[in-house]
């Protein structure tokens, strides 16, 4: 159960960026997985060199966060301005192919930048020690993950609901042309959205980096899981992403617990079932079409 929630909160951070981008721009961003990988690599590399230079290990948390955010902040606008901008108005499926091409490019870019060997930075993970819950022991770092993910989700929801920017963004989701006519700078909203999504993906990667070995292929693994989650929850819905992450997380941990051999497969069964029963996802009724 707790495993499920830990897993869910980790996936949520990645899925929410994906769903945000889809909600606003109608782009199912396959390259999201590479942004995640890029974030993980950068964070691992910087945190590694931070620790290597003998700085206080506590600082490595800051390094992780900053690395993730900066990666998103750089890569997001670069991709949006440099490539996606020229593709708006094409069919959704074409955009999937474009981001798939981007995914291939970024995947190798990451390899070129960081090499093909796995990177291991476990210090921030080990530093916080473990927590005893009943007779089970959990690393404290996992709870930090949950906190970060809840914070990110809450902040995003708050921005969307309360601020001017957020309201404009929701207007664009609702009716792109009408909001353009009302003087909203749609292309800027797109830029901001994509950057925010990219930052979330990279952040997700950055905070995961200490818990696992960072190696080529993590992007491909994560993106199909994130797809499963957003599809389960309903594309473009923030609450849907949270629910989807929770469902997928719980199903997966239940599978791991009771029948480990069906772990991977269970996630996709859920995805297929939801698609079959509710083709547009659980949260995609028209009135729920907001972020």
């Amino acid at each position: 159960m707790i495993d499920g929630i830990l897993y869910a909160s980790w996936m949520f951070i990645i899925a929410v960026g994906l769903t945000l981008i889809y909600g606003v721009m109608k782009i199912l961003n396959v390259a999201h997985g590479s942004l995640y990988a890029l974030g993980a690599y950068t964070a691992a590399a910087f945190a590694g060199s931070w620790l290597g230079h003998g700085h206080a290990p506590v600082g490595s948390y800051g390094v992780l966060l900053v690395a993730g955010l900066v990666v998103g902040l750089i890569a997001g606008p670069l991709i949006e301005r440099g490539l996606l901008r020229f593709m708006y108005g094409r069919e959704e499926i074409v955009l999937v192919l474009v981001t798939y091409a981007l995914f291939l490019i970024l995947e190798d870019f990451t390899k070129l930048l960081f090499g093909v060997d796995p990177i291991l930075v476990a210090a921030p993970y080990a530093l916080l020690g473990n927590l005893q819950l009943g007779h089970l022991v959990y690393p404290v770092y996992s709870f930090v993950l949950v906190a970060v993910s809840i914070l990110a989700g809450a902040a995003l929801a708050l921005v969307l609901k309360r601020t001017r920017q957020g309201k404009m963004l929701r207007a664009v989701i609702h009716d792109r042309e009408m909001s353009m006519a009302l003087g909203i700078n749609v292309s800027r909203v797109y830029l901001v959205t994509f950057t925010a999504g990219a930052m979330l993906a990279a952040l997700g990667g950055a905070i995961t980096a200490p818990t696992t070995s960072v190696q080529p292929g993590i992007g491909a693994e994560v993106i199909v899981l994130a797809f499963a989650i957003v599809v389960v929850g309903g594309l473009g819905s923030l609450g849907g992403a949270a629910l989807g992450a929770l469902i997928v997380g719980l199903v997966r941990s239940a599978a791991v617990h009771y029948r480990p051999e069906v772990e991977l497969f269970s996630v996709y069964v859920v995805m297929a079932l939801v698609l079959i029963v509710r083709p547009k996802g659980l949260f995609a009724a028209p009135e729920a079409r907001k972020i």
Binding site: L28, L83, F86, E91, E92, I93, V94, V96, L97, V98, Y100, A101, L102, F103, L104, I105, L106, E107, D108, F109, K111, L112, V116, A220, V224, F227, A228, V231, L235, E261, V262, E263, L264, F265, S266, V267, Y268, V269, M271, A272, L275, I276, P279, K280
Partner: protein
Amino acid sequence: MGRDRTLPTVWAALVVLLAAGPFLPQWALSFVSVALYLGIVVLGMALLMRTGLVSFGQGLYYCLGAYAAGTLDHFYRISDLLLMAIAGALLAALVALVLGLLLAKYRDIFFAMLSLAFSMILYGLLVKTSVLGSTDGFGLSVKTFAGVVLGRHWVRYAIYAFAAVIAAVCAAAMHRYLDSHLGRLAGAVRDNELRVEYMGASVHRVIHLNYVIAAALAGVGGALMAATIGHVDPETTANWTTSGEFVFIAIFSGTGSVLAPFLGASIFEAVRTFALERFPNTWQMALGVTMLLVIMFLPGGLWSMFRLSRRGA
């Protein structure tokens, strides 16, 4: 555009391939076989794309075909190439017949996502099935063709020749099909479903049929792959990255002609062989860049270049 020269080209290519086979070195035989089976799979993808659907789960049928061939040899000691191909196609078509009932209701990214989900389910299953070798898969070998025992020396050529014949027959049949009443409905479904329904045709059935055809082709392709490589595993068949490769080749070659997938697959395989040797770490990057360029400047794929130059002449 003058007379349609597609069919004569197909048969001429087959004759050339069959005649040249015995004189080709081993590596060339394998290379052409690979290009042929990839081309067969992509031929099916192209049919789906004509119908307006992009499947990110064609690996499912590719994998089924490969494993059908593999299990025949591995567990039943049936090492017959013909039987393997038939089994692969049948299994894939059967599964597609069932899944197609569901999938035919979906369009766009939902079609892509659901087909991806099905493929990943199979992947997840295979990875954990130790009888079938889990992540490592298992090896197989071809020994006979339609009951005729093949000498050691002739196995490669037999696979190659068989792949060529199948490819040619599939391409010719596909060409006929696309020209038929049913086949032409594919493009109509892509352009405007509502009008197709008004005219009294069933969109659902067109999609379902085309989906099954595409699956059967992927199944044959998978079986031929298993025979050529002599090994099957989940990672290179059912994982979504493999399906992505098929999508890539289909986009790259275009859907303008039944010859396009084979041309596209040959170039793809040639570049891959070369690039993996020279620049193993930038190979996907090259793929991605090519794909972007094709999407931006050649929406009809490589094949549309021929069309343009011919019109210009």
